[in-house]
Amino acid sequence: MSLSPEEVIKISHLARLAIDEQAIPKYAQELSNIFDLVAQMNQVDTQGIVPTTHPLDIPQRLRADVVSETDQRELMQKGAPSVEVGLYLVPQVIE
């Protein structure tokens, strides 16, 4: 399997990673190697085998429905670049 430059650009965009245009062939090759490994695994007959969804074979623990967190807005917002009337301010994204 060989990824095209367009596919590499799309994947980097979906992951919001800025990549150097010159490095696209290199990434295409490396990603293709990963897909080759997947393709190789796909050849194994897995019929009747329950897919592994988690490496630990234990059920999810549940917590009681209790409010245990207190308001720590001031502390949380200390690290935010910009805050106004309690809101985090970010570059505008609008529909």
Binding site: P59, V85, V90, Q92
Partner: protein, 478 residues
């Protein structure tokens, strides 16, 4: 060409838990911005989600109420996309193994027929935060109080064939989640939201047409309008030689139109994968049995019981069971008033519903509590007052704290049933209108109503209508 509309709905119902789905932060509506967003909701490094047991219980309860399959081992997955109100860069949702699958909900249509709408799946997920785009000089304000609020997303099969059916399904689902007490159903506050997948195809065609997904439908009326608009748009486009694009569209209620959302076009590549932070959710058969026993009487069952036990029409019963509170109100009034159920239903669905509607109140906020309405209906039933007088007493009940008996006594509204008193009044009316009497006797039957009206007017509406009719007939005949 004849076109067929095909609709599937995705409903997000906010689960009525006290704390969030994966954290101990509160879920109360209307708190100051970001005061209910803890480190887990903010997606700070090193935090781990821990699942809320109530969210699981509510999802199972829902699944059982729509006769669905409960997945013994369901899995949480990450849905990856970037938006400022989603701090982690992914939403924790369920993808391949949702907790609920393959159920159905029966809906009653206007023509009296019943239709089965299949539910493909219902899965647990966390809500995102809220973006506020006004007032920040080119910046957006982010409130993450809603981030991590538990949702159940209920996905129907494309079984709906009109905007009306879509609304009927939505209303049935809305009543159901409120009966189950798993969602407060508040549309204004966004506790119950709906996206509609709409497509059209030529009648008789098997394959589905290309669909558009309409977002931002926060009232039953908007759902109906948006779907109708979208169906017309698609038919117009195809008939004029165009092609439908699969896209997400936003409904604008001010302009009553849908329009394409730009940002979502390339976003539909969510790269789901199982969330390594959460183990599979295991639901044991004994647990399912236990919840089965906790299910309340559901709207459909209640409706059938109301039709059978109270001899109500499907229409009356349908309105009364639309909320559990209204149904309870009805049953209590029947019990206390000992009046016929049909009379009670007429008053609740008529006068009371109109007054509540006019003042924008829910049945739980009714100024006329069960006891006082029962008191009024009791007096209609035992003929103390006429139905007409009852309507004026109803207004006084609404505006005061008096009981119907107090109002009847104070204002002397007791119905006149004494035959001789009624006769005396009728004689006076007839004597005062000789011309009408002559006309009536020469064949103008319609004037009967005139005499009834005059007698009622003269008595202030206090005469028993049936007696007036009988006696007047005799007297006018001469």
């Amino acid at each position: 060409m004849q076109w067929e509309t095909v609709i599937g709905l995705e409903v997000h119902a906010q689960l009525a838990t006290k704390s969030k789905i994966f954290s101990g932060a509160a879920t109360a509506y209307g708190a100051a911005p970001n005061t209910q967003a803890c480190a887990i909701d903010l997606g700070l490094p090193g935090v781990l989600p821990v699942l809320n047991t109530e969210a699981v219980r509510m999802a199972v309860k829902f699944g059982l109420s729509v006769d669905a399959h409960i997945t013994p081992r369901s899995v949480f997955a990450r849905k990856n996309y970037f938006y400022p109100d989603l701090p982690k860069g992914y939403q924790i949702s369920q993808y391949e193994l949702p907790i609920v699958s393959e159920g159905y909900l029966d809906i009653d249509l206007e023509d009296g027929t019943r239709k089965r709408i299949h539910i493909e799946r219902a899965h647990l997920e966390e809500d995102a935060g809220k973006s506020l785009h006004e007032d920040f000089q080119g910046l957006s304000g982010i409130d993450l109080n809603r981030a991590g609020t538990p949702l159940i997303e209920i996905v129907s099969k494309p079984d709906l064939r009109s905007a009306k059916e879509a609304v009927a399904y939505l209303k049935a689902l809305h009543a159901l989640v409120r009966y189950l007490e798993i969602c407060d159903g508040n549309l204004q506050e966004g506790s119950f939201r709906c996206d509609a997948n709409v497509s059209v195809r030529p009648v008789g065609q098997k394959e589905l047409g290309t669909r558009a997904e309409i977002k931002n439908l926060n009232s039953f009326r908007f759902v109906e309008r948006a779907i109708n608009y979208e169906v017309e748009r698609q038919i117009d486009l195809i008939e004029s030689g165009g092609k439908i694009k699969q896209e997400t569209r936003l409904y604008d209620s001010d302009k009553n139109e849908t329009r394409a959302m730009r940002s979502k076009e390339e976003a539909n590549d969510y790269r789901y994968f199982p969330d390594p932070d959460l183990c599979p959710v295991v639901v044991a058969p004994e647990y399912i049995e236990q919840i089965k026993h906790e299910l309340p009487e559901l709207p459909q069952q209640k409706r059938e019981r109301f039709q059978n036990d109270y001899q109500l029409s499907s229409y009356d019963a349908g309105i009364l069971v639309s909320s559990r509170e209204l149904a309870n109100y009805f049953e209590q009034v029947v019990k206390l008033s000992e009046a016929p159920a049909k009379l009670v239903a007429n008053w609740i669905n008529g006068e009371l519903a109109a007054a509540l509607n006019k003042h924008n109140l829910e049945i739980t906020e009714s100024p006329i509590a069960v006891e006082r309405l029962a008191g009024l209906l009791k007096r209609i039933h035992d003929n103390t007052i006429s139905g007409k007088i009852a309507k004026t007493i109803f207004e006084t009940l609404w505006n005061s704290n008096h009981t119907a008996d107090e109002i009847i006594e104070q204002q002397g509204l007791r119905q006149v049933t004494d035959t001789s008193a009624i006769e005396k009044m009728l004689d006076e009316v007839i004597a005062a209108n000789p011309q009408q009497l002559a006309d009536y006797r020469s064949g103008k039957d319609k004037l009967f109503g005139f005499f009834v009206g005059q007698a009622m007017k003269a008595s202030g509406g206090k005469l028993n209508p049936q007696q007036v009719n009988d006696l007047l007939k005799q007297k006018l005949a001469g």
